[in-house]
Amino acid sequence: MAVATERSLSMVNAVGEAMRQAMEADPTVIVMGEDVVGGAGRGGSKENAMGGSFGATKSLYPLFGGTRVRDTPISEAGFVGAGVGAAAAGLRPVVDAMWADFTGLAFDQIYNQAGKMSYMFGGQVRLPLTIRVAMGSGLSAAAQHSGTLYAIYTHLPGIKVVVPSTPYDAKGLLLEAIFDDSPVLFFEHLKLYVAKGPVPQDPYRIPLGVAEVRRAGSDVTIVAIAAMVGRALEAAELLAGEGISSEVIDPRTLSPLDEETILGSVERTGGLVVVDESPPHCSVASEIAAVVGEKAFDSLNGPVRRVTAPHTPVPFSPSLEEAYAPSVQAIVDAVRTIC
């Protein structure tokens, strides 16, 4: 029997394919943001010169044209707010805000407008808005182009937060996000953009709020977010050599958070390490630690460990940046303190 060759795609192309398939399926889906086309208005080969800062939207403009694929001026409050208004008026906009750090310029539109409309208007409005951003350290992009910020948005009622760690998840979760009726912040980690993984051609969706167990284990639960999933898996491999069996959980979405999978795992393993490439104060690592401390305290054999970045902005110099995100060794060390 012939076995279909598994197709391999990078995360950036998986994300692009999700947008293309969403636009094919639903004429109300539009894509807008800075340089999602590039060379807008110049015509010929100059037009569509960029296709997004990382090329994710490259296939869209030639297929769908300028009505549905729109380059915006550099005015985050204006175009993110327009995305909110367009969603309130019946479209499903996918807004590219380029970098997570840039969402600060549009924070009122996300926090006071998008996130509160359903609630303060008594459920009258659905707000099917997706905001895509790149995030993460590792490219010497320095303090204003490297932050994760997902903790900020996880804090906000009315907003959903997605943090894929594989190309497969990125496609399925983005399709789900676009067709979800809430505002969704979709975080794409730069360090994960290029590596390829299996991605089916046909559209598929992954529900929000369902974690994935990346490695089964029995001695400790490691919850890792986005690019930290890979490091947690490496750490688990090293620990296995020492006879420590780690379960690695990728929450995939932070809001909603799949507490059940995490709690169920901790109840079996008796230990929790959370790996989060963000400053520790009021972080998602802290939230997961608190959830486990509150709901699975009796299962814990020792303290919960958070392995996070230091409480600093992301540094520029490679020597400093290398020390910023949690390392495989830091994860191994944290596990050893409780196993």
Binding site: T28, P73, G81, V84, G85, L91, G122, G123, R126
Partner: protein
């Protein structure tokens, strides 16, 4: 301007409804029955009435913290509005929004907004939605002179200009941003002059004359519907009351207030209707009685409505919680 008797009477009904509704809200607020705080639109009725008279049910508006007038002019029901102001389950937003967050999406009223300038980008997006769908709907962003200095206005004007969006940006310049005079806080005498920076028409109407507002809005709405892009329309108006009910208003000049309130757009319109023979004193009295009864009914409706059940506090954060 040549307008029909029906148009005059319709504008008058809208303005008088806003006035009487607002006066009653102010009165009931002082009894302590209305939670939170309320911002009165009294004196500015000609703006909402004159603009919205040019709109269809499927056009969009975004509003401000001083939004009751926009809601009424866009067709919101008084009963459900009042119940919302009272924080009751039968309110337009089921009591979750209150005076500063009244919305009625069934009438294109995309929400009063308690962030100064908060509705401007939203209206821009509503105009974008109409453009993408290829309809001839338009969107109106109401905002005050205070919001004229918010960055989001400038970003939105630029965006709407380059995309030729069907949006009318209506600056209700009532002279004060809370207590700060527009003359102090704004670098130009006319907010409308800033339109030049975006290559779009900037027009000024006198808010003491509803027919001037009506005409200016008619032109702007026609441009938008025809696909000719946005307009910045500044209406010079005056806030008769404080920033909020209970404002001690120590920043006010009594002489100025006397002069400006003497030129009440509502009074001028009534005088014209009488002078032109479109209605008699008795007709106007009857209309006033009819609206007062409707406002009475709204208050009774609100009082009879239950407060939201505390067990529902988490409902409506996400749409899946609505069922």
């Amino acid at each position: 301007m040549d307008v029909s008797a029906d148009t005059l009477r319709s504008l008058h009904r809208t303005m008088l409804t806003i006035r009487l509704f607002e006066q009653r809200v102010a009165r009931e607020f002082r009894t302590g029955e209305i939670p939170g705080f309320v911002h009165m639109y009294i004196g500015e009725e000609a703006v909402a009435a004159g603009i919205c008279a040019n709109l269809r049910d499927d056009d969009y508006v975004t509003s401000t913290h001083r939004g009751h007038g926009h809601c009424i002019a866009k067709g919101c029901e008084l009963d459900a509005m009042m119940a919302e102001i009272y924080g009751r389950e039968d309110g337009l937003c089921k009591g979750r929004g209150g005076s500063m967050h009244i919305a009625d999406f069934s009438r294109g009223m995309l929400g009063a907004n308690a962030i100064v300038g908060g509705g401007i980008a939203l209206a821009t997006g509503a105009g974008l939605a109409a453009t993408v769908r290829g309809t001839d709907q338009v969107a109106v962003a109401f905002f005050g002179d205070g919001a004229a200095n918010q960055g989001v206005l400038h970003e939105s004007l630029n965006l709407a200009a380059i995309w030729r969006l069907p949006v009318i940006y209506v600056c209700e310049n009532n002279g004060f941003a809370e207590s700060t005079p527009a003359a102090y806080a704004t670098s130009v005498a006319d907010v409308a002059s800033r339109a030049a920076g975006y290559g779009i028409p900037g027009t000024i109407a006198d808010g003491r004359d509803v027919l001037e507002v009506l005409a200016a809005a008619r032109d702007a709405v026609a441009r938008a519907r025809a696909g000719d892009g946005p307009t910045l329309l500044e209406v010079k108006t005056y806030r008769f009351m404080g920033h909020f009910e209970g404002d001690p208003e120590k920043y006010r000049d009594d002489e100025e207030r006397k002069e400006l309130t003497a030129n009440d757009a509502l009074g001028s319109l009534e005088a014209r209707i009488l002078a032109d023979g479109h209605a008699s004193e008795a007709d106007l009295d009857a209309l006033r009685g009819e609206i007062e009864a409707a406002v009475d009914h709204a208050v009774e409706f609100a009082r009879a409505s239950a407060f939201p059940d505390p067990s529902t506090i988490e409902r409506y954060v996400y749409p899946e919680q609505i069922a």
